[in-house]
Symmetry: C2
Subunit: 206 residues, 2 copies
DNA sequence: ACCTGAACACCGTTCAAGT
DNA sequence: ACCTGAACACCGTTCAAGT
């Protein structure tokens, strides 16, 4: 199902509807079913039942579509992390789990969100949203510092190190690198967050 | 200079020479001058002064060329890390610096080495070399454990966490994500390795 | 205002044919 | 044994033309 038939071309549904939003939706679907290399402007147009030139009425180029797809991902990811944080009790580990879980449920979209394509993108909004996620982590670190749970240090520097490890863990497991010696994901998250927590505390009573 | 002129096509230099090696060299050059998106089979063939079909005598497909480029990168990276490690005195931090420095001197090739393309590659040798680098880190961790410098734990799990953070730091800085709040690279490496070291030690005299 | 059809310059890949 | 030329099915992008 959800396979775009040729009859979709006849459906006048998108005609005066929101083609832009429809294109983003189809792009995410394609990403899910075909992977990153399936995200071509022409394929998205075909899925939406419009001509190959139609998307150019709504996006200046392929990069803008990619940015819109990333944007949608950042929004959902941020919501998932907030939800888990407000659920409470777990602290940083909960947010870390939310982060890694999002990546594993949306592997192709995650790659788009944190891939080189978007990083070099001219689209400002997407880059800003990406930084907002990092800001969220920095905020959490500041709160943990205030609560005395972790030691001092520049919150942004610690946030980047934290993000770096989460991103690295996600990439390794998504790519299946060293799969034969890779511990189960939850065990890996456990170890990684433990290292981060103790590392942040630092040599307190050394 | 090093700009492939049309006269290169007339040069019989590669004719019975090692076209395969020449293609890999030109691929790395292209990567350096044009970035990852410049690494096309046709462009490499043009740079080498042969027809677009010629590379297929030496590589089954684009993926095999990419794997060969990655292989060359892994070899050089491993050599750099070894050299730094045998230089002695710095411990893990020295190896970490060698890792990050290689990435910054060969940004496009680094992306190829640790990108999704190679991860999904069928080429066994490249994946094995990638794992060898990880094995090198695991080895270093075991030695540190034996020396009592860091606490206990599964070396592979710690190695993956360590690699994850280095990879993440590299990616963030190469992509220029959060560039406006990003601390200088050496400062970031300092913070990251400190977190890793103290994190590995764990709650010793807690 | 929004979309189509045809075109251009690129890809990766294949295959008959040349030396 | 190694390479070329031409072809096929794909891209992203542009532009005149249709409604």
């Amino acid at each position: 199902m959800a396979k775009p038939t040729k009859s979709a071309r006849k459906t006048r549904a998108y005609h005066h509807g929101d083609l832009k939003a429809a294109l983003v939706e189809h792009a995410i679907e394609l990403l899910r079913s075909e992977g990153p290399e399936g995200l071509t402007l022409r394929a998205v147009a075909r899925a939406a039942g419009v001509s190959q030139a139609a998307p150019y009425r709504h996006f200046a180029d392929r990069g803008e579509l990619v940015a819109a797809v990333a944007q949608e991902g950042f929004d959902r990811m941020q919501a998932a992390m907030h939800a888990r944080a407000e659920q409470g009790g777990e602290g940083m580990k909960g947010v870390a789990i939310a982060y890694v879980e999002f990546a594993h449920r949306n592997p192709a979209q995650y790659r788009v969100m944190f891939g080189p394509e978007l990083a070099r993108s001219e689209v400002q909004s997407a880059r800003e949203t990406g930084r907002a996620v990092l800001g969220f982590v920095a905020q959490g670190i500041e709160q943990l510092q205030k609560a005395g749970a972790i030691g001092p240090g520049k919150p942004w520097s610690i946030a980047i190190s934290t993000w770096a490890m989460l991103h690295g863990v996600v990439m390794l497991s998504l790519d299946g690198i060293a799969a034969d010696v890779m511990p189960p994901l939850d065990e890996l998250i456990e170890d990684a967050t433990r290292i981060l927590m103790f590392g942040m505390v630092g040599p307190r009573r050394g």
